[in-house]
Symmetry: C2
Subunit: 498 residues, 2 copies
Amino acid sequence: MNQKKEYLDKCVEQAAEAYQFLKTTTVRDRAKFMHAVADRIEGIGAELIETANRETSLPFPRLEGEKARTIWQWRSYGNAISNGLYSEARIDLANPEKGKNDIRKYNLGIGPVVVFGASNFPFAFSTAGGDTASAIAAGCPVIVKGHSGHEQTSTLMAKAISEVVQEFGWPEGVFNHVLGSEVEGTKEKIGAYLVAQSGIKAVGFTGSYWGGKALFDIANQREEPIPVFAEMGSINPVFAFGHILEEKAEALAKEYASSLTLGVGQFCTNPGLFIAVKGEALERFKVSLQEAIAEINSANMLNQGIYSHYEKNKDLLSNQSDVAVLSESKSIAESGQGRPRVALTSAANFLTNEVLAEEVFGPFGLLIEADSIAEVEKIAQNLKGQLTITFAGTEKDAEENKTIFNIIKDKAGRLLFNGMPTGVEVVYAMQHGGPFPSSTDPRFTSVGPDSIKRFLRPLAFQNWPDQFLPAELKNGNPLAISRLVDGTSTKDSINPNQ
Amino acid sequence: MNQKKEYLDKCVEQAAEAYQFLKTTTVRDRAKFMHAVADRIEGIGAELIETANRETSLPFPRLEGEKARTIWQWRSYGNAISNGLYSEARIDLANPEKGKNDIRKYNLGIGPVVVFGASNFPFAFSTAGGDTASAIAAGCPVIVKGHSGHEQTSTLMAKAISEVVQEFGWPEGVFNHVLGSEVEGTKEKIGAYLVAQSGIKAVGFTGSYWGGKALFDIANQREEPIPVFAEMGSINPVFAFGHILEEKAEALAKEYASSLTLGVGQFCTNPGLFIAVKGEALERFKVSLQEAIAEINSANMLNQGIYSHYEKNKDLLSNQSDVAVLSESKSIAESGQGRPRVALTSAANFLTNEVLAEEVFGPFGLLIEADSIAEVEKIAQNLKGQLTITFAGTEKDAEENKTIFNIIKDKAGRLLFNGMPTGVEVVYAMQHGGPFPSSTDPRFTSVGPDSIKRFLRPLAFQNWPDQFLPAELKNGNPLAISRLVDGTSTKDSINPNQ
């Protein structure tokens, strides 16, 4: 299915109008709206989960969990703007004796945002997902390009948001939903077309490296470049050290196998790489991992395209020289099903063959056996940017491997001390976004209230009378938010004429 | 003078080493360093001002003021990091019952930064200027490409910083200074070479649109794209409305003439455009402006290149069709001196000739006479991004022209209600950076403590034992900074095991 250029242009035009409206709303107004969207999604009923299950093969419990998470995103982002954290109101009062002016600054929405739905999270990173919620929280209208893998699910979510827009009497362009592949009568992708429009001011994307990078390039070659927040590929290495392997090789193997195959391995934070130094403990780990992987069933992947890529890429890696298959699920996979597999190679081989560091989207892991901790260090040093890196170790391991700890600080957005990286909590402290190429901009997160920051820009007012200032900056502080007044954080109202 | 590739590579290598060191410093350590740099600059003595005066022709009082401002930048940015504002420490405590992990996040330096000195501020936007101070505050080593217009001044400043680096026992690569034009034996510009090096992680620039855009493109075409904060051109329009013109046409004309010619018009915030509706009041304004400009002396510009560009560009604009010279300084300019001039055109002409919206760097202004407020609105709507826009009006004017007020919010980083835009205060609420093409990234400011944000990236730690966390995130809060703990701002220490 394709889309008419006229419809796309209308969406961009409506978004521009809606942006003018959203500029007049306060964080409180938008928080109220966001809670209403949460309520509406909560109320959609069984149809939503059933449709998503049919379109994505994701099981019911996972979808129920993802729905709850999506609702929480709307609520918690709404709460976060409501307390003014992202308004970053700063007021420097006039001091005529020193020739100082009254200057006040706050953050407002950057403008209309195009959001791309992701294949692997039909709720939380798609039409009503985190990018949409954070952009609207910031005061930006959104045009969602729904993912082709779950268009009916997307449409249900889009309907819920649009109904709330209508209920609130807000302009239609606050939220628009676009489906399809190409602009009718052309070979141009809808997404590329939208990102190139001058009315669009930022982009949110979760998906492949090639998809994200293509949008990034389009955005930076515009007459007016705009930011692209693309959360792309990551192999989320797990570095396991001597003492922890000694202590719990078997438990670690089970934990790793379980994380690697969770959701048929279709998570951005799937731990695709496991690195450790050879030895008796690692042998125990390998045996347990072999057994654990063998027992995990093959399962339906999100769609045929993802399945085909998985088949192709896991074989591509497995067939590299000096790579052996360590273990594979005993269950025979039907077409469309991802069959878990772990391959094995040496650190020396990994360090000389770049193909081995490519992401395989699905339940595939590569176990790297190093001859020495120096080789492990070299692998850490050579890593490209990652969303997460896990340090599996005891405190003694951490004490003994401070150099590696220090290296991985430069290589990822989130560092775990044990545990597994799958499971990205929606909290203030979350960082979901790492150095390139795991994302296009490591300065921002796409999960948690801080994701709102991506869609803001500051605007300063010099010497404006109170009645023209936004509520965030008025003397009386009607929103009761924290503000930095002459460098001190306070919720007090101010009286600049005293 | 050119530079050896080996020297440039050594600077990048040293910066990488220094970055590893700076990662181990706390905001307190860096604040102490910054105050020491401020002290050192304060102590340089008469040689600094004399050298800068000889190299830039800027008068002594202006240079004294700029020196004080530069010192204040180091001090106030140091104070700002010291209180933890830019660490943005967030702690979400574990809740095992709910399956929640302990996640903590703070901002650290993004990595080595290349800073380009500006021609027009030999102190405040050059070697020891705001970009350098904010990058070091963030924890980033800096390589400064000194401006060719004031290399001796730059060298004095560089020496001061390097002496403090040595005094503190910090690695040499925390600060390096590079002079020259091309990489020896090649035609490649030193700046372009540095920005392309994989060890460089961000760029700060103040200068022309073409210079900034070229660096932006290099940075975005790297294998790993990096942010470029280029503060480029702006014509800083002043919109004057009926009631204020009625009230004080003559005073406004004097104020405008004075701002336009301040520092021989060589400010980024020089108000190059003045827009008002025709009428008796505007006639009075014109007469006064004519008189005021006539009486302002020509004066030496920063260098011969800037002078030649000024001569060429003011004539280019003045010679467009339907443009007339309204007034020119009576003083005859010698070669190298900028002679103030104001030209006059109609709104209709301005709206159809893009050349008239180009920046003329120097004491040149364009006065636009509109037939109606609708034309003024159209001009506002068609403006490209600006650093500042001034609304010259009474409160009644503001009441009557809310549409224009709303439009200009999208067009600039700082909106003034009366006054003139020259004079950019170093305060928290300052926004110096506007929509493209006035800067490459309107989400950040290059003046004020908030400029530090440009050089930070967040890093999250999941379930790490206290001893491995940075001071900003330790349970005991040893730096006594404000932190967001489970969503609430507090300076308290925490006891996660209770």
